[in-house]
Subunit: 245 residues, 2 copies
C-alpha cells in the first residue's frame, strides 16, 4: 500500500458537501471513491482536508488515500479525470509518507468569498458568485476585517448547532479587494468553525451597510454570542482556495 | 410607439443562437420576445445587432425594439429580468430615435475568445472557456495577429457554406494576452463573416503549434481559400464583448 496526497478542484453546486452521507445524497467524497473504484477496482476511503457545505466550491482541496494499485501519480490524475464528472477535477498527486493525513496534518487554510456587487445579475455567475446590490466600500471593509486577525475565541462566528466546545482559532490574514464589480474576501487561518467564514463575511456586510460600527468586531468576538454577529451569507460564493501543510 | 435600444448579456450554452428559428428550437430572440409578451402583452419583434451561433456567449449584445407600452427604461430592465431565465440578463435600456436599428446602425464589434491553456480541465470553465493543452506562446501570437489588421478580403476566414459575395472587412485591432492559464484573444472590426473570429483564432493556434509560419496570415488572406486557414475553434470560448454605434 502507498499513501497518495491528491489535490482537486470542484464546483460544489450539485453536491451535498464533501462528506459521504448515510443517505443516497450525492457528495464529493462518495463520487471520488466511486471513481477510484471504477478506475482501480479498489474500495478505498479518502480522507479529506475538511468538510465543506452543500454548494461550497474548492479551487484547491486536498485528500489522502491509501491504495494497493501500482498506478503512478500521473495515472491517478488523468485516470480519475477520465471517470469523474466534469465538475470535479484532479489537479495534482504525489506519494507521501504512510502516516500523512490530509486533515490531521493540515496547518491552515485559505478561503475566498466572492460577491458580484451589482443591481443586475450576470448570466455567468449563477451558483458561483453571490450577488449583493448594496454598494460595497471595499476599502472600509479592508480596514474592518483586520480586527479578525489574531488568536481569539470565535464562538460568535459559529453556527449555534455545532457541538464544538473548543472555539479558539487563529486568523493569520484577511483582506477585501475589488476587481470591477467583483468584491473578493480572502482569509487565512489555522482552522475554521462551522459556517465561520460565511458569518465573518456577513458581519462585514453589516458594517458596510451601517448596521454595525467600523470597529465592532472586537466587541462581537468578546461577547461569545452568535446573535451579535451578522447573517450567514449563502454557500455559493465560498471557495476553499488553498490548504497549507 | 417608442423605439428602445436594449443591451443584454447571455450565456449561450442552452440556446441555438440568437435568431428565431422556424422550428421549436430555443433561441435568444424567441426567449426575449416571449419575455416581452409576458411582461407587456405585446407581440414585438426585436432586431438584434448580429446573429450568433449556438453556444456563443455575449457580454454585451444590443437589440432595438418598438413598443407601445408606456413602461420606462428601468421598468424594462428590471421587468424583463424578472421574467427571463437566469442565463439572459438585461443590462441597459434607453429610448432612441425611431429609425435606429441595432444591426444597420452598428459601426463595429469587439469579440473575445478565451482559452484555458492547461492539461487539466477546470470544473468552473465547462461551456464558457475552450481548453487547449498545447502551451500557447501569447507573445508570439500577439505579433502574428497584427497581420489581420486593416481592410482585406477575408474569404479565407469564412465558412464555405456562406452565401456572402462581399467578403471585405476592416479589422481595427487585435491582441492576444494571458492572465494566469487563461489566454484571451480580442479583436475589433467593422463586421465579421460567418465563423470569421473562430477561424482567425484557429489559424493563430496553427501558428502557435508550428503548423504555419509566424507571418503566414497575409498569404492566407491573399489566397481567398478557406482551406489555407486553420481550423474553426469551438463556439463555447467566444463572446460578443462590445457593440459600437
Amino acid at each position: 500500500m502507498r499513501n497518495f496526497m491528491v489535490t482537486m478542484s470542484f464546483r460544489g453546486t450539485n453536491y451535498h458537501g464533501f462528506q459521504r452521507q448515510e443517505s443516497d445524497l450525492k457528495t464529493i467524497q462518495g463520487t471520488v471513491e466511486e471513481g477510484i473504484h471504477r478506475l482501480l477496482g479498489e474500495d478505498a476511503q479518502i480522507n479529506g482536508c475538511s468538510r465543506t457545505d452543500a454548494g461550497v466550491h474548492a479551487n484547491e482541496y486536498v485528500f489522502s488515500v491509501m491504495l494497493e494499485s501500482t498506478i503512478n501519480e500521473r495515472g491517478i490524475i488523468f485516470g480519475l479525470n477520465g471517470v469523474l464528472p466534469k465538475d470535479i477535477s484532479i489537479t495534482g498527486c504525489k506519494i507521501v509518507r504512510d502516516d500523512f493525513h490530509a486533515r490531521y496534518d493540515c496547518r491552515g487554510k485559505e478561503y475566498v468569498y466572492l460577491i458580484h456587487n451589482s443591481e443586475i445579475r450576470s448570466p455567468f455567475y449563477e451558483d458561483t458568485i453571490y450577488r449583493s446590490w448594496y454598494p460595497i466600500d471595499e476599502k472600509k471593509l479592508d480596514v474592518a476585517c483586520k480586527d479578525y486577525i489574531g488568536t481569539h475565541d470565535f464562538k460568535s462566528f459559529c453556527s449555534t448547532d455545532t457541538d464544538k466546545n473548543e472555539t479558539v482559532r487563529t486568523i493569520f490574514d484577511f483582506d477585501v479587494t475589488r476587481s470591477g464589480d467583483i468584491v473578493r474576501f480572502r482569509v487565512t487561518g489555522d482552522g475554521f468553525l462551522y459556517n465561520m467564514v460565511r458569518i465573518m463575511v456577513g458581519t462585514l456586510l453589516f458594517i458596510n451597510d451601517g448596521k454595525l460600527e467600523l470597529h465592532s468586531i472586537p466587541g462581537i468576538i468578546s461577547a461569545c454570542d452568535r446573535t451579535k454577529a451578522g447573517k450567514t451569507v449563502p454557500p455559493h460564493g465560498l471557495y476553499l482556495n488553498k490548504v497549507f501543510y
